[in-house]
């Protein structure tokens, strides 16, 4: 029994810490103080993680390209983000003369605020959730949808054709992939029967033998997870869907005209969105903070959550190091001709799974339908596509 309490102690250490801190205050202030502390934790932890991620990303990308990556500032280059931060803070903040100053100023703020709001409902550990909302999932996606507007504001207010193009691309892309993102999350809601993220995690935090009931280990869950990952990559404007930022064609897109700390805010917001969506993906499909094997449950829940998030981030970086940027028509074709029909079909399959009852039959049927659809739609997509050396009409 003593060991169990020690485990919960390590698991709940932040909760206990918060409660202890809150109890130092007069009781009238306690509820507010508890929320403020939670918010401070989010605002401190995730940007810290961001700083760490930038180093890992640059070093990892370097290794993938047989380079060393940054290794000058501090041991193994780990103080690089501090140097970058100082640089961003001390740089001149240039606002274009013809820019719409008000909107130009508001855009990064709106972006950062909405991105941070998304973290409010993420359960980062057992009982570690800032607000346990009845419709947490909806809240998360509502905040995600609001970021699009700030991207548009940034691009439009700069009065720069590249910013404008970047913003148009970003908005078109985010709207297209939001459909796939939402529809793939809806499958989880259908099975868990709740929009509350706590309940979604609880539904997955069960074990058969030592194996967990994560949704990714079901046919529909795997399909949803793949679609969710692709849509999340597009939603966060990460490579290979980084058309809105395409340095080589539209010079960083909607944040071309931002410098100094405003640019840093865009940069932070992009990574925070990545964390938020990774965390959401982990919560929906990878069991949130639950341990991957039953006997590993003694490791604190928040460690599992952040481990899962960092794995997702590594895959983001890996994809960035591998895949070339798509073309706009390829991007849109994929969203509307593959992702949308496939997620719609997946909704049907999920309903089938829901009503076929327990047993091995539903596994076979659902897996067969999804695999067949995947292969068939892949064939359809590749149909009439001439893969091979490109021929040119005018330039020979």
């Amino acid at each position: 029994m003593a060991s169990t309490s020690a485990v919960t102690g390590a698991d709940q250490i932040f909760i206990l810490l918060r409660d202890w801190l809150v109890h130092l205050l007069p009781s009238a202030l306690r509820p507010a103080a508890s929320v403020v502390l939670g918010a401070i934790a989010i605002v401190a932890v995730f940007p810290g993680l961001f700083a760490l991620t930038t180093v890992f990303e640059r070093k990892g990308l370097g290794r993938m390209q047989n380079r060393l990556g940054p290794n000058r500032v501090g041991p193994y280059g780990f103080f690089q983000p501090i140097a970058d931060g100082i640089k961003a803070l001390t740089k001149e903040d240039v606002v274009p003369f013809r820019a719409d100053a008000m909107v130009h100023f508001l855009a990064p703020l709106v972006l950062l605020v909405t991105v941070f709001m998304g973290f409010a409902v993420l359960p980062v550990g057992r009982n570690m959730q800032l607000v346990d909302m009845d419709s947490g999932l909806l809240f998360f996606f509502a905040m995600g949808a609001a970021t699009e507007l700030s991207v548009f504001m940034a691009g439009w207010s700069s009065r720069n054709k590249y910013s404008m193009l970047g913003a148009m691309r970003a908005v078109a892309q985010m709207i297209s992939y939001e459909v796939a993102l939402l529809l793939s999350s809806v499958t989880v809601v259908m099975i868990a029967g709740s929009l509350s993220l706590t309940e979604i995690v609880d539904a997955q935090n069960q074990y058969t033998g030592i194996f967990p009931h994560w949704y990714i280990f079901t046919p529909w869950g795997l399909a949803s997870f793949l679609m969710f990952s692709i849509a999340a990559t597009a939603e966060t404007n990460r490579s290979p869907f980084d058309l809105p930022e395409g340095e080589s064609e539209i010079v960083a897109g909607y944040h071309t005209e931002y410098s100094g700390f405003k640019f840093a805010i865009f940069f932070v917001a992009e990574y925070l969105a990545m964390f938020a969506l990774s965390g959401m993906g982990a919560t929906l499909f990878l069991g949130g903070w639950s341990a991957p094997l039953k006997f590993l449950g003694f490791i604190p829940s928040w460690i599992w959550f952040f481990l899962k998030v960092m794995c997702a981030i590594f895959i983001f970086i890996w994809m960035r190091g591998t895949l070339p940027r798509l073309r706009q028509d390829q991007l849109m074709n994929f969203a509307w001709k593959f992702a949308l029909p496939f997620t719609l079909l997946n909704l049907l399959v999920t309903a089938l799974w829901r009503f076929m009852g327990a047993g091995w039959l539903r596994w076979v049927v659902c897996a067969a339908i999804l695999a067949g659809a995947y292969v068939f739609m892949g064939r359809m997509g590749m149909h009439r596509k001439h893969i091979g050396p490109r021929s040119y009409r005018y330039a020979e």
Binding site: D134, S135, A146, L149, L195, M332, R384
Partner: protein
């Protein structure tokens, strides 16, 4: 607590007024977004989480973007030389006033019809879900069919691709 309501009301009305009066069309679109946000906050203040978040998701995330896109794809955001008011502004004002009068009248009437002290019902997302697939299943299905048809239609429009020599 009335202070919060008046702040939200001021935000909503200010956004709506700005949407009508500002010269730059994109500014108008952004102002209307502010009004949408005010609505969402009002819903949230009434403990209607689902409606509030749906408002943000749909109106700010989709409708506002659609408006902005429409502005950008059609013409510039600068105000036309003829001024921001159309010639038929008087008629528009009359219609708006009539709609407002009807709405106001119905709200006042409903306040009289309902018991004043009836407690606000605790509506959870679960209840909304049950109501949607129970009592309102037919409208829901009709809407779902319509939307699915529209989506499939959009996909079909996109699928049609002319064979071009490469």
């Amino acid at each position: 607590m009335h202070v919060v309501f008046f702040l939200i009301a001021a935000l909503t009305l200010g956004g709506a007024l700005a949407a009508v009066l500002l010269k730059n069309t994109v500014h108008c679109a952004l102002a209307v977004t502010l009004a949408f946000l005010g609505h969402a906050l009002l819903f949230l203040r009434l403990d209607a989480q689902f409606a509030g978040f749906a408002q943000i998701l749909i109106y700010i995330g989709a409708v506002a973007i659609l408006v902005v896109f429409a502005i950008l794809l059609t013409r510039g955001s600068e105000a036309p030389a003829s001024g921001i008011f159309s010639k038929t502004w008087l008629l528009g004002l009359l219609i708006a006033a009539a709609v407002f009068a009807v709405l106001g009248w119905s709200i006042i009437e409903s306040a009289r019809a309902l018991a004043v002290d009836s407690a606000a019902p605790q509506v959870t997302v679960h209840d909304i879900g049950v109501a949607l697939v129970g009592r309102y299943v037919l409208p829901l299905e009709i809407v779902a069919l319509l939307l699915t048809a529209a989506t499939i239609g959009a996909v079909i429009v996109a699928l049609h691709e002319k064979e071009r020599p490469r």
